[in-house]
Every structure is written in structure tokens, then in C-alpha cells.
Subunit: 155 residues, 2 copies
């Protein structure tokens, strides 16, 4: 049921507005993002940092020339696990018009393959406790909810 002609690739600066639109388009995101024209400069400044850092890959799903999904894949060097490389997934979004069509799953699988190719031994992510559908989605991909994710605001 996944639409054909979905392309997964690294994001460019030209995708930034579409990415922010996706991040802003849910209950939590609408309170913390500013999807405006022009975008606040903090977005492009963050994009430049991500783009210039080989441990970060900002990924988009493109369909008929339009960005309809995004995911931030990061690689975390660590001493633990014998100096093993860990991968982490953040900011996963699929355009509401294209949800429940398998695009998120394809985007995740594509990203897990990249993480494997880079030699990561593990992929980790956190999802809000209330997002039960998201938990089931990640469980279907093989993730196990073994940990408690804790956050502390510094502002």
C-alpha cells in the first residue's frame, strides 16, 4: 500500500521549510515550532551545524518533488560497549495526508540500513509515553521498550 516513487535522501537547505512544516504539524510540535516565512534564523543555523557534521544525517522522504517525511539520524561515539558506535533516531514525522501507508516504516528501514552500513551496533530512540501508536510502530520494526526516557528542561 506504500505509494511508489518515494525517494529517501539527505536533506538540503532547500528542504528546511518543508521539514519545519512537518515538525510543526502535530499537537506537541505546534506549541514549540515557528513555521513562518521567512523561517526564524535559528533553523538554518541548526541546519548548517547538522550538514557539516558527518555524525548527523537529516533525512527526507520525497514524493513527486514534495517532502512528505523526515527523520534525524545521528551517530554517537561512546566508550561503552567496547567503544561501539551507537545510532539514534529523532524527529520522525510523516505528512498527515500520507500517514498509515507504510512510508514511516520504509523511511525507518532505509535509515536502519544506513546505520548498519556505518557500523552502529545499536539504534536507540525515545517516544512520548502517551504515543501508544508510535510504540507499536517501533515494536513492529523490532525495537524493545526497555528503558525509561527522562528529560529536564534547562530554560
Amino acid at each position: 500500500m506504500t505509494p511508489e516513487n518515494i525517494l529517501f535522501r539527505l536533506a538540503t537547505q532547500a528542504d528546511l521549510s518543508a521539514i519545519v512544516r512537518l515538525l510543526a504539524d502535530d499537537d506537541l510540535g505546534s506549541q514549540r515550532e515557528r513555521y513562518e516565512n521567512p523561517l526564524p534564523a535559528s533553523y538554518s543555523s541548526a541546519f548548517e551545524q547538522i550538514e557539516s557534521d558527518p555524525n548527523h544525517e537529516l533525512i527526507v522522504a520525497e514524493h513527486n518533488g514534495e517532502v512528505i517525511g523526515t527523520l534525524h539520524l545521528m551517530f554517537l561515539p561512546s566508550i561503552s560497549f567496547q567503544g561501539g558506535l551507537r545510532a539514534q533516531v529523532e524527529s520522525v514525522r510523516v505528512d498527515k495526508r500520507f500517514q498509515s501507508q507504510g512510508i514511516g516504516s520504509e523511511m525507518m528501514k532505509w535509515s536502519l540500513e544506513r546505520a548498519k552500513q556505518r557500523g552502529a551496533y545499536l539504534v536507540q530512540l525515545t517516544t512520548h509515553k502517551t504515543r501508544v501508536d508510535a510504540q507499536r510502530f517501533y515494536e513492529r520494526l523490532g525495537f524493545a521498550g526497555s528503558h525509561l526516557g527522562m528529560k529536564l528542561s534547562l530554560k
Copy 2:
């Protein structure tokens, strides 16, 4: 009750063996680390990556010239939260002989202060669901367990 003369600082290559000793010295760690002399080369290779990356700070607690605690603080640029900088804490350990004396708490507070100075808006971490004492420890520092932490092994 915290011992005096505890110094928190960035780790150097000379601390690596002591750090691995701390990582190996618990139930989960003993199965996945190799605290040997000489250490497997993968440890120093990971250390070099961490040391050369300004987004990573490997921290140690030193007492009378001995490393008795460690913590890995990382900074994660992100598009979400208006391009906000996120901090993450991994691999927190205190030498068993020095536990329950407030050293972990002091080390965390020192690290949270560094994260604030770098402009991070949030600190995040995950802890295994079975580590109830660790959860209480982080709650006392102000962390809230709002998320489920999920992992997928790639090996």
C-alpha cells in the same frame, strides 16, 4: 556527606583505563566491556573521536588522584524546538566504593551547569526500566520520566 577534594574535569587518554574499569563494574557492564591490559584498541579509537568532537565531553570525577566517576555529556544539534541545542547524558558511573555519598549528584549538577552554559534548552537521558534507584536519583535532580526508551540491536 560528599567527600571533599572531588575534582570534575574533561577526561584525557590517560584516564581511559579507569573509565573502562568503572563501565565494566556492574551487572550489565561486565557482560559487554573488556577491562584488560592493554585495553582493546577500539576503546582508544572511540576516545579519539570523542576528544576531537566539540559536541562531546567525556567527564571524570577525580579524588586524591584517582578517577572514581565518569559521565558522557553530548550536545545534539537539531531542527526541532526552533533549531534548539539538546544535551544528552550517557554512561554515568560512580565507583562502588564511593556510592551513596552524593558524588553522582554533584557530577550531574556540574554537567547540567555546563549544558546550560553551552545554551542547551534540555537534557535527556535513558535508564533501564529495572534501575528504580537510578530513576529516583534522576527525579531528585528534576528529571521527569515522560518517555519510553526503545532500542534495537543491529548485530
